[in-house]
Amino acid sequence: MGSGHGTELNLTLKVWRQKNSKASGSFETHQLTGISTDMSFLEMFDVLNEKLISEGKEAIAFDHDCREGICGMCSMYINGRPHGPKQGVTTCQLHMRSFKNGDTIVVEPWRSAAFPVIKDLAVDRSAFDRIIASGGYVSVNTGNAQDANNILIPKTDADEAFGAAACIGCGACVAACKNSSAMLFVSAKVSQLALLPQGQVERKERVKKMVAQMDEEGFGNCTNTGACEAECPKGISIENIARMNRELMSANIK
């Protein structure tokens, strides 16, 4: 266990390669030997890329940044599941000890019409930014604020808002959903602000604008399968979707 105690794995990788958004892609098979179980999944990809470069082949493009599970940039669809087989972790936190010697691992990009592939395993998630820009904020200019303790917020409300605000915007919910719905992502932001006093003034307008933008981006609808909640690395609750639906309905009834 732990430092240097890990065993080594021999693996077969089937990785999606796609030159750019217009090209059609296909799987490429690679054999890897001597992969330490202490490695993270992305470190295993580092090893593979170094091997490819040494053979004069182009490295596999994939998104990643903080490698500690908080930035939301990494986005691999591993053996049919966003972020792989373990619950509650992002791809960067998944470690090779979750796999067995001799395993074949299939790695794809997020699959959704609203997330076009840029290259190999990297996709374009700017639709999420546009949804936030449509209303995912409180309209308060810098310098306008009153003293922070003038706003009293019950701890339970603050904790619930925080639970929704913990979303990292990775898009696993969309990738997991058979309809490519972004309802979990959108409802997390709607909920955070609907639960807090600061969000009340724009409450109705916000949910209407954000849902309209979500539809315009081409995300599908929700059919309550719950796959988003099951695959969310941050445990964002599907209750947020119910809350968003209530918010939208009451906003539309004047």
């Binding site: 493009a61 500690e68 908080i70 200019n141 810098t142 915007g169």
Partner: protein, 670 residues
């Protein structure tokens, strides 16, 4: 006579900022609409500056290399943000926050800047709460505070272990609101490759669209670098994989002086390296050290399991060396002490480069308290530990889970193994009081500048500084320069070849674009045998071994020679595949590593020049008999601001640090 003018306003320390911001020239709203500001980087400093400036009416463009501005590495900050609110009624004040920050920085920061930081700290909390940032609350609905290192008051605001995430998402929301209103143009997946200067004044940037590879020219009346720190020069650090120095370094080569490059913060509690495959290091929050005990075995090469080593055979070395502060000594002191034990052969784990962070003692303490609360008479040891673990789980559950995920060990059952790792860089581009670099019109905010933390940053102060610069400093100080720009534009309005008419058609833009295009083609044409990654790893090893936690003249001199050789080898033998006109992460990295190599040399040069020990900079030749850092205030109470003169050539400029409000003293934690 120094070439540096820090432009610190007149008046008493308490009045400087208030008076200055009430008297600086303003730009009227109609003129703001004609002024373009380029913001590079979208972390706390960049997002807050861009949102605030757009709200004021300036035309703003934001650039970030990530796929979304929300992913900037401010997102990973765990512990909290300081503010002198004195909500706890425990004696906090602007002066105390100012004093703690100067002392924590080992008396190497600028008084006026730090006082301003302390003054605006309270506004930051107000602003973030108004945005809907869910900071932790008490049952009465008021904001909660926690303690942090280097202070005796509770002034740290937090959102569980995700304070950076929540604050950044607040700033990101404000930014996206401006994007939605058309006031900010967002250029994500763009990397700034150069600053364009005309007659020594910043007029725009060259950026590469990372998806298409297209090279772009962008004009701006001012350019704000909010591009973070350069810890990745060490290869392994707690920074994100993409964090880099390129924007700051290119600015340096265009005339911006680099301040105190050798001041780096090595954080004492990180998960140790597990093998050669390691790509980054993960922090275990400072709050854990405040609740645990650090030790190594008294016997060298002790191979027993930690839980089998009896109490009397353990060396709680921080408590032994620093009885007054014990496990609560500042980061620089704790890191050096861990290194000393491991170097002496007492390290643990397979690599022998780790020490134990043990929660058993406090778990038992919590368990006994819990048993008493629940009226359990004569609880068994097992019962005490079970109850204690519940308390520890509630306080630190997410960190314990992260540790288990990475190491495969259960920290509730066995002590954590930890070791120091590169975390933050106090050095950065030299800026004056207005946050302007030595290049007119070019600014540096947040971790990218050198100004507020001296030689060692206190915990929970990075978030404070990033947001202070972006929300409450630059909106005022930028006007000082841009109001003069308005006058210049008016004076030149009939000139046919003025920069305002030509904008990116000015030949300086074409020249810079060509240079950067040539550079990219150069990387691709070398067709050598070694990967970019392999050069980065080798640079990191040189820096860590010779310019890391302990430095000496011999090692630094060797390092400079090794880095120069590495640079030559890089430019003749690097292998970068793919093409320039596509999404090519390896090509992006080649540019970043080339800049890190040059920076590494300057860091060693600065460390060699600073013949003293202060904060994170420890020169082995300059220590007390007990092995503590020994400052030299007579000869080194200055900011080292390095001017680029050509490959491997720099000129040292000094800004004297004057302490008019604080008495300089030797730090002691014994």
């Amino acid at each position: 006579m120094s070439k540096l003018d820090s432009k610190i306003p007149e008046g008493t320390l308490e009045q400087k900022w208030t008076k200055y911001r009430s008297t600086v020239p303003l730009v009227n709203p109609a003129n703001k609409r004609n002024l373009e500001v380029l913001v590079i980087g979208s972390g706390l400093a960049g997002a807050s500056a861009a949102a605030s400036l757009a709200e004021m009416g300036y035309k703003v463009k934001v650039f970030c290399f990530q796929d979304s501005p929300r992913r900037a590495h401010s997102i990973a900050a765990q512990g909290g943000i300081n503010a002198a609110k004195n909500y706890q009624n425990d004696g906090d004040s602007t002066y105390r926050l100012f004093y703690d920050t100067i002392k924590g920085g080992d008396y190497r920061a600028r008084e006026a800047n730090v006082h301003r930081l302390a003054e605006v700290s309270t506004n930051i909390i107000d602003q973030c709460v108004a945005q809907g940032v869910p900071l932790a609350r008490e049952y009465g609905g008021l904001l909660s505070n926690r303690s942090f290192g280097g202070t005796q008051v509770q002034r740290t605001f937090y959102a569980a272990g995700q304070t950076g995430q929540q604050l950044l998402l607040g700033a990101y929301s404000a930014l996206q609101r401006q994007v939605g209103m058309g006031a900010v143009q967002l250029c994500s997946r763009h990397e700034m490759l150069d600053v364009v200067t005309i007659d020594g004044v910043a007029r725009g940037i060259i950026a590469r669209n990372l998806i298409t590879g297209e090279m772009e020219k962008h004009f701006g009346h001012a350019v704000l670098l909010c591009t973070g720190g350069y810890g990745n020069v060490f290869y392994l650090s707690t920074n994100a994989m993409g964090s880099n120095v390129t924007a700051a370094w290119k600015a340096h080569k265009k005339g911006a002086y680099f301040g105190n490059p050798c001041y780096t913060q090595i954080h004492p509690t990180c998960i140790p390296v597990s093998g050669d495959h390691q790509s980054k290091l993960t922090l275990m929050s400072e709050s854990l050290r405040n609740d645990g005990r650090i030790w190594v075995p008294k016997k060298k090469d002790d191979t027993r399991k930690p839980t089998d080593i009896p109490e009397e055979e353990r060396d709680y070395y921080l408590e032994r060396r620093y009885p007054a502060f014990g496990n609560l000594v500042p980061r620089d002191v704790a890191s050096r002490a861990a290194k000393e034990r491991c170097d002496a052969g007492y390290g643990v784990g397979n690599s022998k480069m780790a020490v134990y962070l043990d929660f058993a003692y406090n778990t038992a303490r919590y368990g006994r308290t819990e048993a008493a609360k629940r009226n359990i008479q004569n609880p068994s040891q097992a019962e005490i530990m079970r109850l204690g673990k519940e308390v520890v789980k509630e306080k630190y559950g997410n960190l314990f889970d992260m540790y288990q995920q990475i190491t495969g060990e259960n920290p509730y059952e066995t002590p954590m193994r930890i070791y120091p790792a590169v975390h933050y860089t106090m050095g950065g581009l030299w800026v004056d009081y207005n946050l302007m670099t030595t290049v007119k019109g070019l600014y540096a905010l947040g971790e990218a500048n050198f100004s507020d933390h001296g030689a060692n940053r206190l915990g929970a102060s990075a978030l404070m500084q990033g947001l202070a610069d972006g929300y409450f400093v630059i909106p005022y100080t930028l006007g000082v320069y841009l109001s003069a720009e308005v006058s210049r534009m008016s004076a030149e309005k009939d000139k046919t070849d003025s920069i305002d008419k030509l904008k990116t058609k000015h030949p300086a833009f074409d020249q810079a674009l060509k240079e950067q295009t040539d550079l990219i083609n150069k990387f691709l044409s070398i067709k050598g045998t070694k990967s970019v990654e392999s050069f980065h790893k080798r640079l990191g090893l040189i820096m860590w071994n010779k310019c890391g936690m302990a430095r000496n003249k011999e090692g630094l001199t060797e390092a400079i020679a090794q880095i120069q050789a590495l640079r030559k080898e890089f430019w003749s033998d690097v292998r970068v595949l793919g093409s320039a006109d596509e999404f090519n992460p390896d090509l992006e990295k080649a540019g970043r590593v080339a800049d890190f190599i040059e920076l590494g040399e300057l860091m060693c040069k600065d460390a060699l020049n600073r013949e003293e020990s202060c904060g994170g900079h420890f020169r082995e030749e300059h220590q007390t008999e007990e092995g503590e850092a020994k400052r030299d205030d007579v000869n080194f109470a200055y900011v080292a601001a390095w001017e680029y003169k050509g490959v491997s050539e720099w000129e040292l400029n000094k800004e004297e640090l004057k302490y008019e409000n604080i008495k300089i003293a030797q730090r002691s934690y014994k």
